[in-house]
Structure formats: C-alpha cells, structure tokens
Subunit: 310 residues, 2 copies
C-alpha cells in the first residue's frame, strides 16, 4: 500500500488514535504521524512507546503542515479543539473525526473551520473497553465498518482519499447521513452501553448484600456487561449528552418492551417469553452471517489481542 | 485422575451434558457414560457422534445401575423427569442437576426421590449461546465455578465424591444455600439475560425502519447482547418462570436506576453520568482480578473454542 497522506495529525491519543497509528504504520499509509494529547502524562507515554513519529505539546502545533487531521477527542471536546486548530490548518487539508455521535460533532466543529479545508465526519465502529495511549493495536479496525458522513459540497477526491486510508487500516467503509447515523448507533451501541452500565451499577449496590459473590460468580451474561460497562466514562458521558434525542427514544421503546416481559414473568406467561427469546435468537444468526462476529462460544475468554491489554 | 463413579447417567443431552461427557473422558472420571434425551433427533445425533458410551431411549433405562444421575433438562422439566426415574434409581445413587434455578428445582425434584438416594442440587456457572448435543466441549468448565447446594442431611461422602467429579471436570466447587443462590444468580445472570433479550428485541423492531443496518453496524455493545440473547429459549423461559421473585426484585432495582440515568441524560447532568460510569468501571477490574475473565479486548472475536461451534 502506498502512502496516502504526507502528514497525519492525531489529536487525542486514546484507543482509536493509538490503533490508527499502529495500523497506518502496518500498511505504510502516512509519511509522518504527528500526535498530541491534552494531558502531559499521555504525551509522555506516547513519546516513551514511540506511538507517533513526533508528539507535540499543543494541537495547534500538531496540525501544522498536516494534510489529514483526525480529531480523536471525546465528543464534548471537539468544538474547543476545532476552534484551537482552525487558524493553523493547511490549505486543502482534510479534517475528520472518530466521534460516536455525529450531529453534535458537525454542529460543534464545522462553524470553526476555514473554507480552504474539507471536513468529513467519520466513525469507525470498533472499540474495546480499554483506553489511553497504550491501549491501541493495529488490528482494531480489521473487517470492522467505518462510516463516513461527507456533506453535499465535500470534494469527491477528499472523500476518496479518506476512504482509501480507512480501507488501508483494514475497515470496510460506508457513507451515511448524519442523523441516520445517530439513530442507528443509539440502537446498536449507545443504549446497550447505558443498559450495561445500569446493570453493573445495580450489581454494585447489591455487592454490599452479597459480599464479593456478585463478582466471584459473575456468569457469562453479567461478565459481558461488565466488559461493556468498563468503557471510558468521559467518552460515554459525552455520547449520551450529545445524542440525547435518539437515546431517549430508544430507551423509551426498551422500557416498554421490558415491562411487557416483566409482566409475562409475573403472570407466568411462558409462551410469550419463549416466542420472544426465539425471535431474538434469529438476529444473532444475522450478525454472524454479516461477518461482524464469530460463532465461537468464547464468552470473553479469547485472547487474540493480548498485547493491547496494558 | 482415577474414576470417581462407575456409571454416570446424563438425562438431557444439551450443552452442559455434552461438555460433561467430553470432560469426564478427558480425565477418565467415569467407568461408563450413559445418556438419554427426550427428542429422538438428539439421541440420534448423540449416537452418531459417540457422545456417550451408550444412549438409551428413556430416562428410566438410563439411570439403571448408575451411581450418579445428572439431570440436564430445562428447569421446568425437572419434576417430571424425577418422577419418571425415581422407581429405577439404584440404592446409594447420587442425584444432581445443573439447573440455573435452585429453589424451584428442589421443590420439583426432592418429593419424588426415594430415601435410599442422595440429592445434591448443583449449578455449573458456565455456558455459551449454543445448545444441543453437538455444542459441548471438554473445556467448558475449566476454571469456572460449580455451586453445590447439599441439604443438611446429605451424606458428606456423597458431597465429597460429587465435588471430586466437578473438580475433575475443571471447575472450582463452592457450596451455597439454595435461596441465596437464586438471588445471586438473578443479579449476575438472569436479569442480564432478560435485558439482553429485550434490547435485541427492540433492535429487531427497528430493523424494519433501518433495514439490515442494525445488524450490519452492530458495534461492540450490541454484538455482545446478541450473543447473550441467542441462548436457549426453553431454558431461559423456565429460568424466569422459576426464579420469579428474585428476578422481579432485581428488575425493579434496575429500572429505578435506569430511570435515574435517563433523567440525567434528559436534564444534561453530565457529572452524574460520569460518576456512575466511573463506579461501574471498577467492578470490571474486580472480575478480572477474580480470574473470571481475561483483560484481552477481544470483544467476541476470540476463537479458542472453535471446535464447539457446530
């Protein structure tokens, strides 16, 4: 794979930026990778492990001369970063982001950007519960989707280049509308995370009753929830605050259905439960057929990315 | 490991019984493994793949001369099976089960059993979303807990033998009170499963809105839910109908907390969300420290038990 950008600036050095750095090197996609993070500790770690070719102390410095700038900060910080870097962006540069929410990011970022750059919001559908500059690994995006949300006046050449980068990182790239993205992600990611957080919170309350048994005997179901609920708190706070409308809509549907099942349990309607559980089983098959998961019953025991667990 | 039982009868040939058969052979724990299943298809598959040394057409035949009988049928079928096998049980035999609910099983099974056998309820905390006679694999119980719930008048020798079997199967054995079991499992397993089923059901409704996108773009959170929600419908129907009280109690706490988070989202109280998510992250560390999961960010990609995915 030949180099697609001369200089890529990664703003924020967490799981996604770190994995992008590793994966860009794997396929030699960038002439130079420059990174920066708000916290001095993160910058120090990134320097120590050689995550980027160069680590700068400010975002303004990082973007200088970069033909691609990737905003990898929490959704709530995107606006401030855009304002900071705007005067320093190179003419013709492409600005993208990796935020889990898109409407709010577009509204926070776009007004700050000069006319001589292209802004293409993006969202790689990949992650783990780990965070920080040491959590990234080159395989994170392999065979995952990356959604791009170009505007109507974005240059097709800029979109093609960014698409090429993500494909080089291992992802399958699709384009989508900004608002549609936020609804689909509310269903597939945001509300499931909120529910997992809640269930783990309930268990934590009960731990006072049952000592450490809730942890000790955490069977498959709960263990998977704790994995989800261990994700970065700042990132997820910002997701919910910035995708409020879709999250609340899906939550409303969720509690409606949960109450129906709860009533079936209370009244002993086994057939209703059985039919519901049979229906949900089918959706799993669809996911496996779509290649978005394996059929192996590993239940969190797998260890094919051990390197990243730092 | 030397043989602990001369003849083990497995009643029901699903994931747990199949895995027990494989693991008993791995460590040579039983002189003969006899199995039976209600469905002729399951019996045929078991014969074809050689799951047991012998497959009988009825449970009554399977238990003859067995010094250990393991009830591996859904919780709702335990009573009927106990009634069927009771006249055929060998004196001194131990009867155990692997049901996910214990109070209801004790009440359904114990009254049928003759005085000359020992009944020791059990529950291995292990599973995958797969079911049927081909889903088992020898490693399922390795380093998982198996809970035993002996009564006050159970012979210590019988308990020691059954404990030895489970340890030979790879499990860590602990004893627990029947009702306490049902509460702990409601938190760690039953309610998480119900929630996962519900979320996948909501997504299924929405699929009509968003075509196949919900499946296609199923990010980590939702993908883990679909795995849980693909579990055996009959088994889970019976779990909820038979652990009604604890399930409804924990569900009540869950919806209470969910509504609090929902209000925090609606009113924009980011600090409340951040504090909650930070607290739940800690519980995950406890689970990893307890050795009940790995720290590897595999998110369902691992494939170390591929053999079982038939």
């Amino acid at each position: 794979m030949s180099q697609i950008y001369n200089r890529v600036a990664l703003i924020g050095l967490g799981l996604i930026a770190g994995s992008m750095a590793h994966a860009m090197r794997r396929a030699d996609l960038a002439g130079e990778i420059v990174g920066t993070a708000r916290s001095e500790e993160s910058r120090e770690i990134a320097r120590r492990i050689g995550l980027c070719d160069r680590v700068t102390d400010t975002a303004a410095k990082a973007v200088q001369g970069a033909d691609l700038v990737v905003l990898c900060v929490p959704v709530g910080a995107m606006g401030a970063v855009a304002r900071e870097i705007a005067p320093h962006l190179a003419p013709g540069a492409t600005i993208t982001d990796v935020g889990s929410v898109k409407r709010a990011v577009v509204e926070a970022v776009a007004p700050h950007l000069p006319d001589h750059v292209e802004f293409i919001p993006g969202h790689p559908l990949a992650g783990t519960e780990h965070s920080g500059p040491e959590s990234g690994f080159a395989e994170l995006f392999d065979n995952r989707f990356c959604l791009l949300m170009p505007g109507e006046d974005t240059s097709p050449e800029a979109v093609a280049k960014l698409r090429g980068l993500w494909e080089g990182l291992g992802a399958n790239v699709e384009e989508m509308d900004v608002d549609h993205h936020d609804l689909v992600l509310a269903v597939t990611s945001h509300v499931p995370h909120l529910i997992a957080y809640t269930m783990v919170g309930v268990a934590d309350d009960l731990r006072r009753v049952t000592d450490s048994e809730v942890i000790k005997y955490s069977a498959a179901g709960f263990r998977d929830f704790t994995r989800i609920a261990a994700s970065d708190p700042t990132m997820w706070r910002d997701v919910f605050l910035n995708n409020k409308e879709a999250t609340l809509e899906i939550l409303g549907r969720f509690t409606e259905e949960l109450f129906a099942l709860q009533r079936a349990i209370r009244t002993g309607h086994g057939e209703e439960l059985f039919d519901y559980f049979t229906r949900t089983r089918a959706i799993r098959r669809g996911i496996i057929e779509a290649g978005q998961d394996t059929d192996a019953p590993d239940f969190g025991r797998g260890k094919d990315h051990g390197k990243a667990a730092s």
